[in-house]
Every structure is written in C-alpha cells, then in structure tokens.
C-alpha cells in the first residue's frame, strides 16, 4: 500500500462549489508533493460502490468522497478494507475502525454574512436561491436567516430552489424574479445568482467560494469553506497511522480555520463590519453558538 496515494470520488463535477473546496485542497497537497492525488468525478450513486472498490483494489491509502446517497454500501466497502482510510461526507456518525465523516459546517460564517445582510438591506427583502433543499444547503440558509433576523427582525426572505445543481441560467432567472419582487440582497447558493445581482446593480452574499473578483462591487460578504485544515489533518493522520473513525466535520468550524467570512468593507460599511466582527469573536471564544438547523427554509409570508 502506497501511503501517499489518495483518491477522491465525487458525485458531481469538480467545479461544483462543494467538491471544489476539497478538490483544491487535495490538488494543493499533490502539488506540494505530499500525496499523489487521483479522482473520479460525476460518478452516479449507482456506480459509487464500484468506484470505491476499484480504488480500494488499486491500493490507495485514503479515499475521500461523499456517502450521502450511498451510506450503507460505502460503510460496507470500508469495513471490507480496514487497511484503507475513508473520509466521507456523511450526515451519519463515523463507523469504526476506518470510516471517518465530515460535512460542510460553515453555518458560522453564514450567520455572520446574515448579520451584514440584515443590516444592509433597505427594502428588508432578501432573496435566496438554492439548488436542492438538502441539509448541506438548508443549514447554511437557516444560519444566514438567523443572522439577518438577529440584527433586523423586519427582514423577510423569499426562498426558491431550482432543482438542479448546474443550471446557472435558471438560477439567474430565479434571482431576477426575487429582484423583481423587491429583494435588494441575494443569497447566492448557486452560480448564476450573483450574475443577476450584478446585472441589476444590487448586492449578493457569497457561499462556500469567494467569487468577489468576478463580480466587482456586488459581493457584500461571503461565507467561505476551506478544505485544507481537514484534508491536511486527514493526510497527516494517515501518514502517522493515527487515522481514526472520527468526525472531521469540526474542521470546517471557524475555530479550526475551516471556514471564514470575508466582507467587502467598502460595500458593507463600518457598522455592519463591526457587528459581524464582534459576533465572530464570540463564536471563536465559544460564548455564542450558531444553531445547526437542517430543516428546509421557506419564504416568510
């Protein structure tokens, strides 16, 4: 077994925001020479188990991926290859001895972006466009809403899901609809939403990745996910032989540097920045906890 060989199996193309954060971290590790990184993208859940087994048979040391749609078979494969470490996105607990889990717990910075948005909105209407209403998406939207409501109880939200991960034209249309209904800030869960904001000259909130450079003057704040702390930790654990079936999800928390908020200070203004920074301190000091709420967000009536 080659300790440096790491495989990733993505059910989406690696451009998808979610996968791209980990893909980038793995690519970086590869470029640093720490690992040899191979991956398969756009693997359907039907094929997922086969691909896992194929990598396992190739003798990789660590398999990174998403078990969301394939919890049972993924865990079964892991139990058959105890010598290989598995680090899988999952909503369920880890499984001994080698099946560790993680998720994109960036609700904390999402909450902070909510504060900025709540303070900045003038129409008190915020539009949110998502792909599918799954926990990974819901929890960020809910945290964002909570953050906004914490500073501005008058904000109302309209939420819509486009039922696709990759239909930017459609996301853009959904966003336009929100603008037409009066929203002056858009929560951009999908590609396409910020484009609508930019075209209509309003503000957008970024999610997972930083796209501020692509939309100058548009991205008010973004909640970023950083795959590196978790990936680097997992690689180190594997190399040290100390990889355990633990929850690596915590490495997405701000405390570990797994997520952060960026705010365009010129757009947000000092007041909102200060409010967000203050809350960030509280989070880091653990005097404030952002609630994790995976239920489907709905428009306020």
């Amino acid at each position: 077994q080659d300790l440096t060989k790491v495989a990733a199996i993505w059910t989406v193309p690696v451009e998808q925001q979610w996968a791209s954060r980990l893909h980038n971290a793995l690519t970086a590790a590869d470029e640093r020479g720490e690992i040899e990184y191979v991956y398969s993208e756009n693997i359907s859940n039907t094929d997922y188990e086969r691909v896992m087994r194929e990598y396992a048979e190739q003798g990789v040391s660590l398999i990174v991926g998403e078990a969301f749609g394939v919890e049972q078979p993924a865990r079964a494969v892991a139990s058959e290859y105890p010598e290989i470490s598995f680090l899988m996105g999952s909503s369920l607990p880890p499984a001994e001895p080698n099946f560790a889990t993680f998720d994109n717990f960036i609700h904390e910075p999402s909450y902070l972006t909510g504060i900025v948005a709540g303070m900045k909105t003038e129409s008190n209407k915020i539009g949110m466009v998502g792909g599918y209403a799954i926990p990974e998406v819901n929890r960020l939207m809910n945290a964002f809403k909570a953050g906004a409501l914490s500073v501005n109880p008058d904000v109302t939200f309209s939420v819509s899901f486009i039922n696709s991960w990759y239909d930017p034209p459609k996301a853009k249309e959904a966003a336009f609809a929100m603008v037409d209904a009066g929203a002056d800030i858009l929560y951009a869960e999908r590609f396409g939403v910020s484009d609508a904001a930019k075209e209509r000259g309003i503000l957008a909130i970024g999610n997972v990745i930083d796209t501020a450079a692509d939309y100058p003057g548009t991205i008010l704040a973004s909640a970023l996910w950083h795959g590196e702390p978790m990936i680097d930790k997992a690689i180190a654990d594997v190399k040290a032989g100390s990889f355990t079936a633990s929850d690596y999800g915590i490495y997405a928390f701000m405390e570990y540097g797994g997520s952060s908020v960026v705010i365009d200070e010129a757009l947000a203004g000092p007041e909102a920045v200060a409010a967000a920074k203050a809350k960030e301190e509280e989070i880091l000091a653990k005097t404030f906890t952002v609630e994790i709420d995976d239920s489907e967000p709905t428009s306020s009536q």
Partner: protein
C-alpha cells in the same frame, strides 16, 4: 463506378459475429483518438478496459450488475417497439416500479421473503405497466403522440419522486437527506454471490427475456402484437383487437421497466431516491434497438453496453484520464454497432459497369 445496396434475405450467424467483431474493432480504433488527446496510451487503455469489465470476478459481477436493469428496460422497449408503440418512458416507469416496491415493501405488509419478494415484484410490474397504459389510452382516445407523452412523463415522474422522498416517504433517519424509508430485509432481493452486488434481478431479467422470446415466437399474443405493429389496418381488418393488444403490450412494456426499478431498489440500493437510475430507461432504447428488438439479443446487447461502460470507466481511473471518457466509449461503440447492423441488412456492391456516355 457506382455503389449499390442489395438487401440481404437473412444474415448468417458467421456474418453476424464477424460484423459485431468488426464494429467492436472500429470502436476501439476510434477510442484511441480521445485517449491520445488526453495523453494516454491506447494499447494500455484497451487492456485496462477489458480488465475492468471482465478481469476479475468482481469486475465481471459489476458488468452483470449493470446489465441487469438494462436487460429489463431493453426488453421493455423491445416489446413495445415491436408493436410500434414508441415507449420512451422506461425511465419514468422504472421509478414508478421502484416507488411501488418501496410503498409495499417498507412496512405496509409484513410477509416472509418468499411471499414478500413476489408481492413487491408484482406491485412494481403493475405500477410500471400502468404508467405505460395511461399514455397508450391517451393515444387511443385522443390520438396524442406517445413518444412525446412518455418522454414528458419521465420528467414528471422524477419530480414526483423528489416530492415524495422530500415529503411523505422521507426517511426520518436520513438526517434530512431526501431519500425514502428503506425496504424491509424481507423485501430485498437476495445477492447471487456473497460480497458482490449481483442480485436476483439478473435472473428475473434472463427469465423475462426467455418468456418474451417464447411469447413472440410461439403464442397467439405474440402473433397479434407483430401484426398490430407491422400493419394496424390489416390487423384490424383481420379481426385482431388492435386497441386491446396495444394495451397488453403497454402493460408488459411498462411492467418490465417497473421490474428494473424494483431490481435497483430492492436488489442494489435498499431505498428510493431521485438518483436511482443514471438513465437506464434511455439506455434501454439503445439496447433494444441494437438487439434488433429480439429478446435474446437484448440480453447480449445489455451485456455489451454494460461491459463497455464498466470497462471504460475503470480504465479512466487506472489511467487518470477524465472519467467522462466512459460515456464517450459507450457512444462510439453504440454508433459503430449501429453502422454494423447496416451491413447485416444490406450487401454493398461496387459496380464496375461504366456509366454510359
């Protein structure tokens, strides 16, 4: 010099095998282009493809596992197309079949496996069948084209399934992930071999192929289906109940696609979600046509398509070439085999006779 085509009466087995091999070879040659483009070595890639599809018990079992739904959706299309009922909706029927299996098999009934499995299968068959009977009735009543209706219904069904797995059927233990409650252990199709994914659905598919073959060849129903498919007016004149025959075909066709769904949900996955099928219903069309609508041929064509996909996908992993090459190889093979079928139907003649001046 001119090129002329002459229809062949009937292609011999030797020719069929020869043409298939030639088609495969040409496909392989074509595959070299993307492999080279991606900086790989074609020869290595070929070896890895074969290894990936047949190189181990695991590889072969995966090929069979992928062939299982393709056999059933292929048969679904073959039987319908024979009656000129253009069922493009096997994808939706597959999901509805799976849905029925989940509704019945996740706790509604408590039965021992020997009763539960047949019950779930019959439910899936009927549900899938109904899903095809509806567009057929619409066609008969209103003359609306079934190609389009079945195609559109695929989208409706997927959305419907999404709605259910996010709503009433959602598994409370799934941590919010949109998937249905799992099937009871009694409703699951047993695996054929330990540790491999192959399951009894494969046997069901093979038996279905045999039954259909018998039906087409030997039964009055098969005779009537052929007559209705080939010439509705003559069938009607001869007293064959055209509409009733079409409805039977629709039921069988949709039912087979429904069984494919049962196989996937009860044999492989264990619960229903809106990503159960990566397009098995659409591939079924291809499989059926490659097989010339012959039931036995469908089994072979399904195996072929499955092997190409599994082999090429595995090759992409071993060589580091983008995994999109798997679909590319399938597409190229498909088109080559399609062109090959041309040479089975026609003899090409080069006439030396000069065009008179």
């Amino acid at each position: 010099m001119t090129i002329r085509l002459e229809p062949r009466e009937d292609a011999g087995l030797g020719l069929k095998i020869g043409v298939s091999l030639a088609a495969g070879l040409v496909a392989l040659l074509l595959v070299a282009i993307p492999v080279l483009f991606a900086g790989g070595s074609p020869l290595t890639a070929y070896g890895l493809m074969i290894q990936g599809a047949f190189g181990s018990m695991f590889a072969f079992s995966e090929t069979l596992n992928r062939a299982t739904p393709l056999i059933l959706t292929g048969l679904a299309c073959a039987v319908a197309f024979r009656a000129k009922l253009w069922n493009i909706g096997a994808e939706g029927q597959l999901y509805i079949g799976a849905l029925a299996a989940v509704c019945i098999g996740s706790g509604l009934l408590q039965l021992p496996p020997a009763l539960m499995i047949p019950t779930v299968m019959i439910a899936g068959f009927l549900a899938g069948g109904l899903m095809m009977v509806i567009p057929t009735v619409i066609k008969q009543r209103f003359g609306a084209d079934e190609v389009v209706i079945t195609l559109l219904l695929n989208f409706v069904v997927i959305l419907f399934i999404q709605m259910l797995v996010e709503g009433p059927l959602k598994d409370p233990l799934s941590m919010g992930w949109p998937q249905s409650v799992p099937l009871l252990a009694e409703a699951k199709l047993p695996k054929l071999l330990p540790r491999l994914r192959m399951h009894w659905g494969l046997i069901v598919g093979l038996v279905a192929a045999l039954v259909l073959w018998l039906m087409v060849r030997k039964t009055v129903l098969g005779f009537e289906i052929r007559a209705v498919g080939e010439n509705k007016a003559a069938a009607r004149f001869a007293g064959i109940p055209v509409d009733a025959t079409m409805l039977k075909v629709a039921l069988i066709s949709g039912g087979l696609a429904g069984l494919a769904g049962v196989g996937e949900v009860a044999g492989v996955k264990g619960y229903l979600s809106s990503d159960l099928s990566p397009g098995f219903g659409y591939s079924g069309i291809v499989v059926a046509m490659l097989a010339g609508l012959s039931p036995i041929g469908t089994v072979i064509a399904a195996l072929f398509v499955a092997a190409v996909f599994v082999g090429a996908d595995s090759m992409s992993r071993a060589t580091g070439i983008s995994s999109y090459i798997a679909d590319l190889v399938v597409a190229l093979s498909l088109l080559c085999v399609l062109v090959g079928s041309f040479f089975l139907r026609f003899r090409v003649k080069w006439d030396r006779q000069s065009v008179v001046a």
